[in-house]
């Protein structure tokens, strides 16, 4: 534990310097004249007896923030049903939703979206585009009640991991397209449990940095899902090759 502690100490003086009022974090240097300040300091020392504790607290805060973002809107779900509840969750996250035979609904640049879709209660959700959203295992629960979901895009989602992929099995009957490109936490271990999704027709597993052997993984996934078109490394590679070859052709 020597290394993290040492680096913590490196951080401490900077932090103390920038916030003068909490200068005497140990409590001994607290000004005696100002009673109110002293109690505040005491409170601080009681709660965070170390800078490490404070930083740990901030770390936990950061983690719980992701949880808070992935809370489900139970009141909306109860009032309008699972489709609207899930759609509201995705739109709130910044993703896009497509109801059956309707246009894509996307939030604008400020994250605002019109609430017109609230009247589509009986219309099932057909496609969800959650690219780049902070969705995690807990948030995925909102999508699992959409039994008619055909296309799900989880491109570049930082919190989607192998646990999430194993969580998708309730959608096995409907899901036809799954896009996982660019998810930093997805590995071949999670891809192995996609064999539950027997109706899958299109799977994008290109650009997964955590997969150790992308080529071999792609072959094994293709073997596992014989009816599915798997976009993998060679797709990305051929794209690069084409780019390289094009100038030659013109020259």
């Amino acid at each position: 534990m020597a290394a993290p502690r040492a680096s913590l100490r490196l951080v401490a003086p900077i932090w103390n310097g920038s916030t003068r009022s909490i200068h005497g974090l140990s409590g001994e240097m607290a000004p005696r004249g100002n009673q109110r300040k002293r109690t505040l300091l005491q409170l601080l020392t009681d709660c965070f007896c170390d800078v490490e504790a404070l930083r740990e607290y901030l770390l936990q805060k950061q983690l719980s923030n992701v949880h808070w973002k992935n809370r489900s809107f139970t009141h909306i779900e109860e009032q309008y049903g699972p489709y609207i509840g899930g759609a509201f969750f995705i739109l709130k996250q910044g993703g896009a939703v497509k109801f059956q035979d309707k246009e894509w609904i996307r939030p604008d640049g400020r994250g605002r979206f019109s609430l017109e879709f609230l009247k589509f209660q009986a219309v099932p959700v057909e496609a969800v585009d959650a690219s780049g959203c902070a969705i995690n295992y807990q948030g995925l629960d909102n999508l699992l009640s959409m039994k008619e979901l055909q296309s799900l895009s989880l491109k570049r989602c930082p919190h989607v991991d192998d646990w999430c992929l194993s969580h998708l099995h309730p959608l096995a009957n409907s899901l036809q397209e799954l896009l996982l490109a660019g998810c930093p936490q997805v590995t071949e271990r999670g891809l192995a449990c996609l064999h539950h999704l027997q109706n899958l027709r299109r799977l994008d597993i290109s650009d997964l940095p955590s997969v150790a052997n992308p080529g071999l993984t792609q072959i094994l996934v293709e073997e596992m899902l014989p009816n599915c078109e798997v976009l993998g490394v060679d797709w990305a590679q051929s794209l690069k090759l084409e780019l390289e070859e094009q100038p030659r052709d013109t020259a």
Binding site: D162, H167, C193, L220
Partner: protein, 486 residues
């Protein structure tokens, strides 16, 4: 000459005494003081006991509130929850005593690392569900500032349990219980099984149960190191050594019927340093026995089971080491990426290992052919005679396999009912158990650690009711009926 010297000495003595009394202040006898100084000088001389330059930093502390015997995954989990649930930061001083910091023989590192909810007992299912939740959020529970996140390498491929016609009814009941507790388990007929996993031979299979999520296997070493790192940052002390003795006080009490009962309380643990005779007595309030396969010996040290047979004092902790082999083989035509951990009707199991067509598995030997647990040597004939026939019968592709390597590890085998022992001993009142899980200790460790910590801090179980797992069941003869022990 001699006489004059004596007289002089006596005279001076008398004189000094006289002076002392005349001053009337000193309370200590001069002779006593001199002899004390002499003793001090003697002890400072080479060979003496007092040594101010002696470095004792390798010794454990002299006092600790809780001493955990065994630094495996169960012991560390108890330490973690004790620190996590303490009312005030730094309120409890916890010392973990581990015999071997390389964990060369520890069951944790040598295990296959499976986790499943397919048990028959609601408590076991709850323990597993709690643990899987812990593992899913491991980077939140075991987050350490400035440390990289843990890579648990969890394979969510599930468990596939096969049942013969005889076991089908029991399996159906078990799955009902598992579903009630919230596990995602489904039943499969032989036809469905054949369709989903075409490489399986369904002969003799009447029913299969398959875990859809939260089941699979993970890297036990990662969990161990993650717990170690976190627990260290929370201020738990570690010490490499062996517990050789418990110093305890005893109280004799009479029951209503007139029988005598001796209540014991451990107040000192002697920790012997490795490769030396040096030991340190550690004063403590609570001892937690998480020594895994060797917890029976630790319990004996505390005097558990040293009474007339048939009484509570004479009831031993029925946990002993049992050797289990794990074989790793290569099979080019073997089952593919979707392979779950398959447990055959015969008791043999296997799972995929990595992507290179490697598999690992084994089988528990019958009670009669139990190997000698004295060493960790592997019996390769056991694979040829017992494991391979079962595997090849179930998966025809395994006819042409080639064993790559093998190892052996210990089960902390509970000979009474193959289930864990949790909670305090009724007579040695401050010894708590977290042991005896007979092969599923690793997967339940996070939940068991919490249960023990709750028992220590609150005096009762809060999250999961573990009352059926108390030590007293050995005396009362109440076996826990768990059917799915692999």
């Amino acid at each position: 000459m001699l006489r004059t010297v004596l007289q002089l000495g006596l005279g001076r003595n008398l004189l000094i005494r006289g002076v002392g009394t005349r001053r009337g202040g000193s309370t200590l006898d001069w002779d006593g003081q001199v002899s004390e100084i002499k003793k001090k000088i003697q002890s400072v001389l080479p060979g003496g006991s007092w040594n101010p330059l002696y470095d004792s930093s390798h010794l454990p502390p002299e006092h600790s509130d809780v001493v955990i015997v065994g630094g495996g995954v169960l012991g560390l989990s108890v330490a973690y929850w004790l620190k996590k649930l303490e009312k005030q930061r730094g309120a409890i001083r916890v010392l973990v005593v581990e015999r071997d910091h390389t964990y060369s023989q520890a069951s944790t590192g040598l295990s296959v690392g499976g986790i499943r909810q397919q048990f028959s007992l609601p408590e076991n299912i709850q323990l597993s569900l709690f643990s899987v939740n812990f593992l899913r959020n491991i980077n939140e529970y075991l987050a350490v500032v400035d440390a990289p996140p843990l890579d648990l390498q969890f394979n969510p491929s599930g468990y596939l349990l096969l049942a013969s016609e005889k076991g089908a009814a029991a399996m159906e009941n078990n799955v009902k219980v598992q579903r009630q507790e919230g596990a995602k388990v489904c039943l499969m007929s032989p036809e469905q099984l054949q369709k989903k996993f075409p490489w399986i031979n369904t002969e003799g299979v009447a029913l299969a149960s398959y875990g859809m999520e939260d089941e699979g296997w993970f890297d036990p070493w990662c969990l161990l190191q993650g717990l170690r790192r976190k627990v260290q940052s929370m201020g738990v002390l570690f010490c490499q050594g062996e517990v050789t003795r418990f110093v305890s006080s005893s109280n004799t009490m009479k029951t209503v019927s007139g029988g005598e009962v001796t209540m014991k309380r451990i107040y000192e643990v002697h920790v012997k340093m490795n490769n030396s005779l040096e030991y340190q007595p550690v004063e403590c309030a609570i001892v937690i026995n998480a020594a895994g396969a060797w917890s029976g010996q630790i319990a004996e040290l505390a005097g558990i089971g040293k009474g007339p047979p048939g009484t509570l004092q004479g009831t031993k902790l029925p946990v002993e080491p049992r050797k289990r082999y794990v074989y790793l083989w290569h099979c080019p035509q073997g089952p593919g990426l979707e392979t779950p951990l398959v447990t055959d009707t015969s008791g043999a199991y296997f799972r995929r290992e990595g992507l290179g067509n490697n598999y690992l598995g084994g089988c528990s030997p019958t009670e009669e052919e139990e190997p000698d647990p004295g060493n960790l040597e592997v019996d390769h004939d056991f694979f040829q005679n017992k494991v391979w026939p079962c595997l090849a019968q179930r998966v025809p592709a395994f006819e042409t396999l080639k064993v790559r390597s093998a190892w052996a590890g210990y089960y902390d085998y509970n000979t009474f009912d193959q289930n864990g022992v949790v909670g305090p001993h009724p007579l040695v009142v401050n010894m708590y158990f977290a042991t005896g899980f007979s092969g599923h200790g690793l997967q339940q460790a996070p939940a068991v650690g919490r249960a023990v910590a709750e028992m220590v801090l609150e005096g009762h179980f809060q999250t999961i009711n573990m009352n059926p797992f108390l030590f007293s069941r050995f005396y009362l003869g109440e076996k826990i009926q768990e059917q799915n022990i692999i």
